[in-house]
Subunit: 350 residues, 4 copies
């Protein structure tokens, strides 16, 4: 198909990279044509360079692709570069490609808080892509850089967005129970986390309020102004493979009832749904009324992991409490990168 | 030893019962002389009636004891009846024994919120034993009934007690990550909780605010008046065998710093410490400064599980955050029953 | 479709029952029209009677079906009754239905070793269905009874069948590492098996040699004569949700090499493959050459769980060693019941 | 105490090293006076260099010790150097120290199969220390080198030793279920082994037959002649933290009954028991008659992990089957190094 968007993928052999490879293999109009990985893998076939852990076989068209470098030369023929690079490598590599003219859509943390760079969780703030209209001139870049949020911020921001419209939020107390895959495939030894909880995730509590507030921000006089939601996060690691859960207590002066809240969440829809984009979940938020849901072992499957699930909605005194769960590798990473690209295409950003 | 306190134990073959059997086997002045269990076990030797899961062998003096019933006749020679009965059986059995004149110290939930019954977590509110002076007359009982709190309330109340003295608490947001043993040995199938989190524990969120507020209560005009701390609990079950963790966010108008808080927790001591009671931990609260502690797999061992551990103390804006961890079977159950008995002995209640 | 085979399902709300419900919902010519469960559920809608744990929603056509009893009256209109009943209930219920004229295909253990009842793992011994020709007269039954093997015997017999053709087997030493789901959803408490191995499974070591030998048996003079393979099984339970693994050491006087063995396994095919039956895996045995495979967390997905995977093939001295893995709920239970029915249809048994 | 044996410890901050530090802290006559670790830790205090995971606090006398190098200079004042070095570092470091005159007792794999080096599991083959009488001359070393076996070989050889005396063994089929700690604290990511079994452990199946046969060897004409037991091992990794289990099938022409076997195992004792050495378990083998034992979560505690436990003894046909379990870090590593030193002291080797 002549019109397919050709993309390359940085960090293609990691856990999130593999997830993107699998998701893109069935994509109607995005075609993965180049895969990049660490220097010692360059030249090998993808199937020989990867320790494949996704279900099913390696997509045939990718299995035989040779691993390429992160240099511009190796990506000059693609329309967009997707990045699932580790945070510590991303800054230099991505910046170089953007300066040389590439459009880069990236999951990695550097530049997420840069005022010129949109930080996109599509259903929450696709409008922020408008920043791209000013980015080249303000940055003196030849290409474009778009970021996706931290996996936890991505999941938490989903129910907060419609709630923020419904009620005036005074403060938010969030405790997360995060899966081990959030630290990468080899991020935590079995000996450290099996039968255990670690009540701290390095760097996570700093990112969550900043990223959520940036995503909830509004344009004022051509600039993006972050929101100023008061968020108190505590992040913990639990012995679960996939699925980040957040318990959210929202303090408000408004009076709502639980049914209104459930309805606002359940009916949430945004541009990806309205435009029926291929990777968009029909319903981005699924609400449970059973008290014992959502659960990571049971509730990550909806729309291939692109929906978040919400339960335990309760309004008492001036506090609204809910529990949210999302697939940290799909909704929190691979999926929103692809969905962001679909929105950019839809809106004509390339 | 002629002066030893002779006790019997209801529910002696369960997980908490076994824990008490082991703890009492080394006790300097409490002697376990009768063990009771469900009707079909009556007459069997303890060693044949129990599926022993505590470390080490069954204490020799208990192994050969015959299982007795819960009837008064079988307990008439003991000074005190301890109870680790399941909640659903406890009400009738305990009430009958108390009416017939026994002193019962119990872990089970019935009567915990009865205004005439002290709910004791020794370091937190040993003074409430004074209620016993009025109990016989107000209840028309021949014996006495003392209750210990729910395991989670027991652990959470430990740091809240000294903090409540230090600062004025406006509201408290608590999220717990509770171990599977809290539901009993067979309470949760492996299929239901392995690799999973269940964001709800039946009945737990109702108990926590009530029981904590009762324990924090004060005597006024001969009556115990519950405290009115605003507590918003969310309780979750995590795939951990032993150890309940709580993430506590406390809203306050006061200004304290983290070091003051750590010091108040670290130096907390109460009658059990001052009287150097056998089961009392030297330090009931151990404070960690390492960010990744406390952890259930590493931090349940202090003073044989009788200390709680606290970490992640942080004061920011008007919010004090801390994480507390305790052994739900020892600090949350078996240990405080025994410690309560020691306090009662010390104060001359029998 | 007028020609669809109408079936009812006994034990429809259990773990294997749910698996069958899901598998049948997509079946080209078998239609599930009646669902039965325990007496207290009768009359409820399936969706209200089941605690659904399969991925995805309850199939729409089943969700609204009312639960029926196990009595003949409730099954008289179906062509075949499938049974996922617990072993202890199956004998009476199934026998009654068969006597009253129903064709019953069942996973439960009673009658498995009855000489008149075929014990079918389709690829291994579909020919044994011929026993049905004699069953009515020898048993004086009006219906027919077909059994499927124990889940472990089902998985182990898959590679043994082609190997038995390739070499003369003197003795077989088998150690299994079996998943917790093999004991049923509530079969093992988390406290008992998490972080543990239990080196014994009640009743399992008795079943394995007998059932495998029956499946490997041959017709002689109109009777099925069991094989007499010497099998020494040790069965263990490991903290894995799904997937039974077996380490098989086969002693032989023959000389084969590993490649021959791998080829014989890899190319194994039987009537279900030759007739291209809907539930038949294209390849019933998948052979890995990577030393660290198969693994339950990675290798249960092939052909929706209907293939077994084999690895670690090694021939040294007079010993052939291999490791086999299969989905105990699909290949070991739900899947072979459905595949058995497909074979029966293909061969005109109803 | 002037007469204490002064030892240094290589690899003191690893998991086995920490275990030795804790075990030695209570030792009546061995004193740990120097601790060595990797170059970047040299000069730090032990307490600052170690990520302590053993229960309890770091022993006081060790906590303040400065980390030293592996050079002779840093060990010249100690009587014996103990080594818990990683296999890949051990060869050069240990050889250098031995050549320079130190007595080294080591857990690491290099030199285990050297015919001049005794490979000691004390109860099994303490007599092999006699090799030390010839080692200096045959090797031209100034010091002495003693090795301990691989953890799995150490545990398996315990019951095989008394059985080899009882019956003539034709062949042995062994399947192990090994704990994750056997691969080191960071050896396996949670993502790789949680809820999983990996049916292969690199290098393990090569070591087991060779090491067991060396330990079962006999002196002939001043040389150690390995035994020639036919052992067919398959090694698997299971999601358990500590405790290696082995299922052993022994083929024999002899006729024994299960009780004889249990008695032979139960009554096994050797020089460490006869001399009542401090680290020796009173009973090196504990036999269970309950069918569901031994279990890693319950049975590693006997004699602080120095006993192995055996269950499921069964003799049928010509096959004896048993299951053995041992603490891979204590009986398989730290404990036997210390016990070996005690035997050497007892026998006057220094």
């Amino acid at each position: 198909m002549a019109d397919k968007i050709k993309v390359s993928l940085l960090g293609s052999t990691g856990m999130v990279g593999q997830k993107m490879v699998r998701m893109l293999s069935k994509h109607p109009y995005i075609e993965l044509v180049k895969v990049s990985a660490s220097p010692q893998k360059i030249g090998k076939k993808y199937k020989d360079a990867v320790k494949w852990i996704e279900p099913g076989d390696i997509p045939e068209n990718v299995a035989e692709l040779p691993i390429v470098s992160t240099e511009y030369e190796d990506h000059k023929d693609v329309d967009v570069v997707l990045s699932a690079l580790p945070n510590e490598l991303a800054e230099d590599v991505e910046l170089k490609l953007v300066k040389q003219g590439k459009i880069v859509v990236s999951n990695a943390s550097p530049f997420r808080m840069d005022p010129d760079v949109p930080l996109i969780n599509p259903e929450v703030n696709w409008e922020h892509l408008e920043l791209l209209k000013y980015q080249k001139s303000s940055k003196n870049w030849n290409g474009l850089l778009v970021k996706n949020p931290n996996c936890t911020a991505a999941i938490l921001s989903m129910p907060i967005k419609p709630l923020e419209r419904l009620i005036k939020i005074n403060a938010t107390y969030i405790v997360t129970l995060q899966a081990v895959s959030g630290a990468g495939y080899s991020g935590l030894p079995f000996m450290a986390i099996d039968g255990n909880v670690v009540p701290w995730i390095k760097g996570e509590e700093e990112k969550i309020p900043k990223e959520i507030n940036k995503m909830l921000g509004k344009f004022e006089a051509g600039k993006l102004k972050s929101s100023s939601l008061e968020i108190h996060p505590t992040t913990t690691r639990v012995p679960v493979k996939v699925g980040h859960m957040g318990v959210i207590n929202i303090v408000t002066d408004d009076n709502v009832d639980e049914k209104e809240v459930q309805k606002a969440l359940d009916s949430f829809a945004s541009l990806p749904q309205h435009k029926n984009l291929p990777t968009a979940p029909n319903k981005p938020i699924i609400v449970f009324k059973d008290e014992d849901r959502p659960q990571p072992a049971r509730d990550l499957q909806y729309y291939d992991g692109m929906a978040v699930t919400v339960g335990r909605v309760k309004f008492e005194g001036n506090v609204l409490r809910l529990v949210v769960l999302g697939d940290n590798l799909v909704r929190g990473a691979a999926g929103i990168t692809i969905l962001t690209l679909e929105v950019m295409k839809e809106l004509g950003y390339f």
